[in-house]
């Protein structure tokens, strides 16, 4: 039979997959590996050619030095604060708007969707100034409000992504619920959102990373170094005629760690919603 032949040698597939993953993986690991290894090199070795791959002995003191050189803990707290507030806002607002664009058939839906896309087409260099003026008028310059409040009204990126995901969820469930008399809010909260958990995890991740690494926003709107974020703090390692490379790399490594932790947590296999209910409602032959 045909299937037997095609299912021929599963182990070969595994070996090839592993080979590709490891090979490409080394390539992809390079930047981070270099970052970490540079952070433990003595100053003289950092730009050496040929490069020093495994510094020995590793100079771990760049880490405590970096944490002391700038108010690292305070900046971390500030950045975390902004990120958490942002992620919450984005998940709440974007899920609502994406639901409207994906799951409710109403007249203005396409206009809103396409104008949403259109807002991303204008480069930020020219909208920076008018945006600044809006926030000045609101009296928010010097606070973290310009960095956090807009998240509660949705971002085009997250709405677009979530809308794409929601549109792959079959409508039979929500239609059935409507017939049963549920209102939209219930359908949104109890039926659609649980099915969209992987998508929500994805936009949370991107929202967090975006906020965490954001430089222009904090630079433009914060004027008190008690409020500064880590991305601004990284700049402190650079001065007019050079930089503290070792400490900069150490600080950058530390900055990347929370994202790695968050990534692993959000992407754990058990986090996805099981699609069994929807699958069962499908006809058996669709392929």
């Amino acid at each position: 039979m045909k299937d037997v032949k095609r299912k021929g040698r599963p182990w070969m597939r595994t070996v090839l997959t592993h080979a590709a993953l490891v090979g490409l993986g080394c390539f992809f690991l390079l930047p981070f590996y270099w970052l970490v290894s540079t952070s433990v090199k003595p100053d003289a070795d950092i730009f050496k050619v040929p490069p020093v791959w495994i510094p020995s002995p590793p100079h771990w003191e760049n880490y405590p030095k970096a944490v002391e050189y700038i108010p690292f803990l305070r900046y971390t707290f500030n950045t975390l604060r902004i990120c958490m507030v942002n992620v919450t806002g984005i998940v709440l607002s974007c899920s609502l708007v994406a639901y409207s664009l994906a799951k409710i058939k109403w007249k203005g839906r396409d206009v809103v969707f396409y104008s949403l896309i259109a807002t991303m087409l204008l480069p930020s260099q020219v909208t920076m100034l008018p945006s600044f003026i809006i926030f000045k008028w609101l009296g928010w310059i010097g606070t973290i409000l310009p960095l956090t409040v807009p998240a509660y009204f949705g971002t085009a990126f997250s709405i677009f992504l979530l809308r794409q995901f929601l549109m792959t969820i079959p409508n039979e469930l929500s239609d059935a619920a409507r017939i049963d008399g549920c209102n939209e809010l219930q359908i949104y909260w109890r039926i659609v959102m649980p099915l969209a958990k992987p998508a929500l995890a994805t936009i949370s991740l991107f929202a967090f990373v975006g906020s965490w690494n954001d430089f222009i926003g904090p630079l433009l709107y914060l004027n008190d170094d008690r409020n500064y974020t880590l991305s601004l703090g990284l700049q402190s390692f650079m001065s007019q005629h050079g930089a503290e490379w070792g400490m900069l790399m150490a600080a950058s490594t530390l900055m990347a760690l929370p994202i790695i932790v968050l990534f692993s947590w959000l992407k754990r296999p058990s986090f996805g919603a099981l699609r069994q209910p929807a699958a069962r409602s499908r006809p058996a032959t669709t392929g």
Binding site: D43, A44, I46, F47, K48, V49, R81, M84, V85, T88, M128, L129, F132, I133, K136, I141, G142, T143, I144, L145, T148, F215, I216, L219, L220, N223, D224, D225, N227, L232, Q235, S236, F237, M238, S239, Q240, H241, G242, A243, E244, W245
Partner: protein, 426 residues
Amino acid sequence: MKRLTLWIGLIAIAGCGRVHTEGPVEVVYWTGWSGDEFKIQKQLVEKFNSTHPHIRVRIVCQFGNAGYEKVRIAIAGNATPDVMSTVWADELAGYAKRGVLLPLDELMARSGRSLEKEFTPGLRKSLRIDGKVYALAVTTNTSFIVYNKQIFRELGLDPDRPPRTVEELDRASDASVSMRKDGAIQRFGYVPNNLLTWVYVFGGRWYDPKADRVTANDPRNVAALKWMADYYRRFDSQAVRRFQSTFGNDATAQMPFFQGLISMWATGEWASAFLKRYAPDIEYGYFPLPIPKGGNPETTYCNGSVFVIPKASRHVREAWEFLNWLTSPEQVAYFCSKIGNVPPLLEVGDDPAFLSDPIMRFAVRLTRSEKAVGPPPIAIWPTYTREIARAEEAVLAGRRDPKVVLDNLQARMEKEYRRSKAELGQ
């Protein structure tokens, strides 16, 4: 539900957090210095605050290059500090002519300060725009060449008689060049750059104040560019380019001069600190930019951050009190000696802190040269410097003809300058 309440609670707490202080007048001071230099500035600010209890200066770091862009937006959005040093000398004319800065003449007169009497020649020329003083400085810089005496000796050149003319520079540089078997360059002499300054050395200039016109294609400018281009013509320009690309960052132990890969290094007064840190074993010397026949000896171009008071400053009197203090000899001496910059005040140059270091002493001497120049007082200068860099690259790397490129530059800048003058109503 519980989690939702928790979140809302956290967000509410997160949203708050602003502290107000009453009492002394708060002066907001933006600086572009970061890292160690910022820390020294902070020390000075604290000293000021403790000795002037009726004023409280709050220093805010606006990091590096990005800070200078933020200033544009802050000015346009009317959110400026009371005093700031996040303005390059290059940009000063642009801001001053647009009327966003406060002229300092009256304030200076009342405090008994004088630009002409106290500051170095380069700054005297660049801080006064349309007859008024718009900025002061606590640092200035110089350009000169540091050379490796050991390599000179190796090559049979007199290590105590560095080049004084460009012909001597050429000879020394060419002698230093050695190639690898595969045609790549192993060691070089002087890698030409900084057309902007060389033009002045050759006796040319970028702007003629008397005729009020840009002079990009002045024949002496062309001569300077041609001289630079000849370096690349004598050797394969791609090879020189590749060699240059290995230079990486100045502030590292791998900088070619520290490794003995170039025999001459175009630099400034910060060389002293770098040499001590990265290459304490090199026997070095230094000399001012060599001149061609009829050139200007001991020319140096002064750039750097300048201190301004925006027109929209809320506390002008207090801001000036701070600025006056910060630019007084004692403070300037402290700051410059700590960060390795050369002082802009004539009086401070005689301070033993600077006389003890030979390179510093030399740099101070250069700043006092009457041939020192600063940015010309035209609003389009930042654009102009960028175009000069592009022209330089087009000739050196792109092997275009110097005269053609500079004629081109002249045409473009003339147009820009005309447009800028029309726009500013001048």
